[in-house]
Subunit: 534 residues, 2 copies
Amino acid sequence: MNYIHYIHFMCHIILNNIYIYIYIYIQFGLVPEDYIEINQAQPFTSGGNAAPLDLSFFDSHMPTPASTAQVSHRDNGNDPWTVFDNNASGGFSNNWAAQPEGTETGKTSSNAWHSGGHGHPQAYQGPGAEDDEWDEEWDDVKSSGGYAESEAGEGGAINRGGAHGSSMKIALNNGEVGPVWAYPDYQLDCVVADPKKGSKLYGLKSYIEYQVTPTTTNKPVNHRYKHFDWLYERLLEKFGSAIPIPCLPDKQVAGRFEDEFIKMRMERLQGWMTRMCRHPVISSSEVFQLFLSYKDEKDWKMGKRKAEKDETVGVMVFSTIEPEGLPDLDLIEVEQKCEQFNRFTRAMDDGVKDLLTIGNEHWKRCTGPLPKEYQRIGKAFQNLSSVFTSSGYEGEAALTDALTAAGKTYEEIAQMVAEQPKKDLHFLMETNNEYKGLLGCFPDTVGVHKAAIEKVKEADKLVAAGKITPSDKTTMSKRASTMSYSLQAEMNHFHSNRIYDYNRVMQQYLEQQVKFYEMIAEKLRHAHSRFTTM
Amino acid sequence: MNYIHYIHFMCHIILNNIYIYIYIYIQFGLVPEDYIEINQAQPFTSGGNAAPLDLSFFDSHMPTPASTAQVSHRDNGNDPWTVFDNNASGGFSNNWAAQPEGTETGKTSSNAWHSGGHGHPQAYQGPGAEDDEWDEEWDDVKSSGGYAESEAGEGGAINRGGAHGSSMKIALNNGEVGPVWAYPDYQLDCVVADPKKGSKLYGLKSYIEYQVTPTTTNKPVNHRYKHFDWLYERLLEKFGSAIPIPCLPDKQVAGRFEDEFIKMRMERLQGWMTRMCRHPVISSSEVFQLFLSYKDEKDWKMGKRKAEKDETVGVMVFSTIEPEGLPDLDLIEVEQKCEQFNRFTRAMDDGVKDLLTIGNEHWKRCTGPLPKEYQRIGKAFQNLSSVFTSSGYEGEAALTDALTAAGKTYEEIAQMVAEQPKKDLHFLMETNNEYKGLLGCFPDTVGVHKAAIEKVKEADKLVAAGKITPSDKTTMSKRASTMSYSLQAEMNHFHSNRIYDYNRVMQQYLEQQVKFYEMIAEKLRHAHSRFTTM
């Protein structure tokens, strides 16, 4: 098979608050499956969708590159959506949004990811680190001959057809603010809790298992980090073209079993799951429901296999979206909305990063020099008190007691100051960090839509040149319109969530800040009352 | 006249919180009056009374150095106290406590101080700076032929005798805590206010005049800084052996007429005057009363002359102290008390300096990086708010308004933080700074007494050697006892004031701190109320 396949990783490494963005292009070709050649690494120009986009799903009538000639065709090639999608696997699939899955080639490349360490954007920890972690996280898959490799032999075109048939229709309504997803009456949520250390291979390998309890069934299921990661990969493949799927919390090599890390990871997995639950399209998807409420091990394994064979992935997801009762969109208006949203997400990305930088500095000051200073003030008062005690002068016990108490109060304040960021700044930082990740997904999602619009704009020329029929053009317009509706629904989903999230996080932050300052005032009031000039 | 006279200055220079102590010994000899030879400058070993003490006033029966042979004797040499005091002017008077005044030689050296720039300890600003300031501060004296030089010609033995005769008796009572000064029923105080720029020599020279209003008469008098300094010199000469006279606020050359400096100097002059008013011995002295309530220019000038001719200065002040109904003291006990007090003042000096260092650092943080950080947090919130406003999404005005308000709140907090030290830390620093000055005077005062005790302890040997009579020994003991009583009264005065001052300053500090934190909490509570997740 002579195919070329690019994957780009957008990675960030956090080193003492300096964010380093690295784009790594990986080329797969006629090379051993587990061989990865890093083609180039170049600095990331922030906020842009600089990566070339795969437009091949609109190119059914255009000449295809020589390299695509040998690509196997999907068995459901008659579906009007897959006409566009077909070439995706042969084109320059730099964009994950059009990532082919479900073909021999796609499956092979998928395996290559697993064995070679494919990660989601922004989770890269450096080549050595990732290998280390990844091996351990996934080694049970290898040893047990799990879903990843065994599937390739066992599965086939027949099974995949079944997977495709199971995809549901996604409703798109017309809301007050424009197109909106159809929201369920009952908001799904779940609780990630109770991390437990498990082991396998007779204790040779250990891992952390989290208990995930959906509010619908209230029946807990257990999942390891790698299961979350598997879910993330499925959601990214299936919905990534239409819905930005935020990355999972970073993998971490050192101290993976330390309580602090486990707590932090659990909290972030909770945040990620809550965000997924809140999304009506994702939360109602089969794969997500499987993850949240599989009945037993067998059910889970069967479900996993089915999900991995799902063919309604990449741009194919748009074929399942039904903008009911919505007229075709005006392209100029769509373009403007797209551009506005693009500008907005970039500006918000800057704003969020700014806040994170400042928050980090403030965190350092609050946990470092500031409490040290309060402690020194406290010690100075107490020291003066003990000097006074040594005066030999009668009747200054009231003063020395008061001074000691004041000194201790400042030591308590020092401790409060040092512990406060965990109580308030933490959530502000976590929320903004989550949004940073989410905003990082938008350039690609928006890019898919912008490219589709460009193609439709070219359609007139193509008709004139006799390359496509006027009927083809109408079909393209309708499809672009559906894509635009779904983007707008996603924008609106993002905005309403953002408004809720920022209201909530600011409430939390300020509430804790108020408590903090009130408690300091209260402590000082008490310290004050002990002095007397009567 | 072949006399040698040493004066030592203990100077401190504050350079970015690094305190540099310099001891300068100045030797006066057969040289022009305004010539000062700086003999040596050596680092100060903190807290000790390392400077050699003048014990000559106890040495009437000891062989005197050759250089003292030509010293003129006082006309009131029959007074039992001046027998001891007499030799002071001829001995190695390194200690100001035994500073001779009222003789030809003393007067000459006094003039040399004025013209040559004699300063009180800790007010030294470097040779150049002092000359500069001093010339201007005192030039009207020179031009008008004021009290300093004209007196030397006009005055004489007759006038001085009169001045001595006017000195009052100082009562020493037995209080609950031991010997105490006789405190008046009505506590004198005064208000230093209303600094006004005046000028003389047809506007060529300008100066600042402060209005001083005693609470007794409520009739204001005007004084320039140099008048305060004149008063300080008189008090130091007269009471310095028995009572530590704290230095005046430092002279300053640059920005002498700047509002900030004038305000600070006025505040410190107020603090100094209040401390002097609170001391029963000082506040009831003729020179202090003159300063506070002279009737007119003529009264002031006459009073000044009289005060300058006062002979009851140096150790002679002890001759006016009457420990009524108090038995002679046990020397061992006195020594122990002395040692305890010495240890105490050193420890307190360390504690106070420590607090000042920490306070200075805290001040810098509160006025520098901390408010900058709050400002940046405020700006980040406001920035996010304006990004949100650009979303084009309907119905987020409530959030953006709330975010802007929260941002502004943090900017207000930034300003509050930056301004707070002036409201609380300032008084804590000023009080401790005052105490630092006061504590710096104690080693010398205590030293005078320790030396006297040593002499009395040697008295037995002197009697055995036939150098003094047993009656002389008894007299010495009685005198040492009086000195010890006065030191104890002074200790008790210091302790009771200290207890009051630290209670008051801690009350002030904590009260302002409470207000500060309460106001922040209140502001944040308001900011919090604007967010909503309904």
